[in-house]
């Protein structure tokens, strides 16, 4: 039993060590954005906006990314999804986008300082998910990994509220 556990641990560590953040061809790195620019984008929005804050080094972000990608695809006609990559490298960001959001209709932006989420009313921790009504009014802010029920409920609030 101990040998099996040790072997599995060794495989897991080896597989983890083999993963890398190489630049990905065909995927553009997220465009840099400031707090003022993002707030102006939200103020000008005519529909609901979901801003998901992530980073490629953040394990919880990785675990919620498939759900965010599915939601963005499902609500592409009703909600604008923005992925805000913070305190990250362009290589890490493109690898993350290529892995989780290759086809998802998400506008990817980056904030190397990590200050933008704080200015929007959040914190420096990731992941964070902001839900904005048209015009940029904050409807709900979720700290940490978001689950499917919460995401669906808050999107429904934006779309039908």
């Amino acid at each position: 039993m101990f040998r099996i556990a040790l072997t599995l641990l060794a495989i897991a560590l080896l597989a983890g060590a083999c993963s890398s953040s190489e630049p990905v061809e065909g995927i553009e790195p997220p465009s840099p954005v400031t707090s003022e620019e993002l707030q102006a984008l939200l103020a000008d929005s005519t529909g609901p906006v979901v801003v998901n804050v992530w980073a490629s080094w953040c394990t919880p972000c990785r675990s919620e990314a498939p759900l965010i990608g599915r939601a963005a695809t499902e609500y592409a006609d009703d909600v604008l999804f923005i992925g805000l990559d913070v305190r990250d490298t362009p290589e890490g960001a493109t690898a993350f986008i290529a892995e989780f959001f290759p086809d998802a209709p998400i506008t990817h932006l980056s904030d190397a300082s990590g200050q933008v989420p704080t200015d929007l009313g959040g914190s420096r921790g990731v992941p964070l998910t902001f839900f904005f009504r048209p015009g940029g009014e904050l409807s709900y802010l979720h700290f940490g990994v978001i689950d499917e029920r919460t995401l669906a409920l808050q999107i429904d609030e934006l779309v039908n509220g």
Binding site: A15, G16, S63, Y140, E148, R149, L151, L153
Partner: protein
Amino acid sequence: MEFTLLAAAAIAGAAAYIMLWWEAKHGNAARCTGNLWEIGLVSTVAGIFIGRIVAMLVDGVNPIAHPMDVILVRSGVSTVGASLGAAAVFAVQARKNTITIADGISAAALAGLAGWHAGCLVRGSCLGTASDLPWAIAQEGSTVTRHPVGIYAALLLAIAAIGLAWWKAYRRPPEGSPAAIAVIAAAGIRLATEPFQPSISGGPVWFYATALVAGIGVLAWSIVRRKTA
């Protein structure tokens, strides 16, 4: 805030244990609360672990390359994977007396599920689709009133658990029928409440329907078996 899942799990565990404790005093066929508790707990934890790995695989995340993701159960646990995984682990643990132990644990399993759904009060995840019914509730800062679907599920499961425990204690049901009733209740209640649940890609309705039919089949088998015995 991330610990609200643990709080909901603690409520579920307490509800299941209280039910086992009550049944031990009222003629639970298995008459072994400690063993039933251990079997139930191990099956549940293993089921959640398996369900999480299945959810990762479905989402395209390699669990071997990202082993730490397994503990992030909030990101999603496959209901199908968890249910089948828990059932398989249960079957291995109870292989010498499967039907009796399944009957013994049936009401406690329903009570645990009721406790888990009641945990939505701690998690802040009770609300479902929009509704104009008098008891519909709006979340803070919203004007949209909604079905408290988590409470619906908790109440229905609690009623089923208490009814099943009473039936087992005072009516001596055919062997296998309490476990079948538990499966029918759990699947039927999930099937009935699913339309009120907020969801991105929809719940596994086909799985609940299959479990419901399987439960009815086992119930019919247990009744026929007793009559022919």
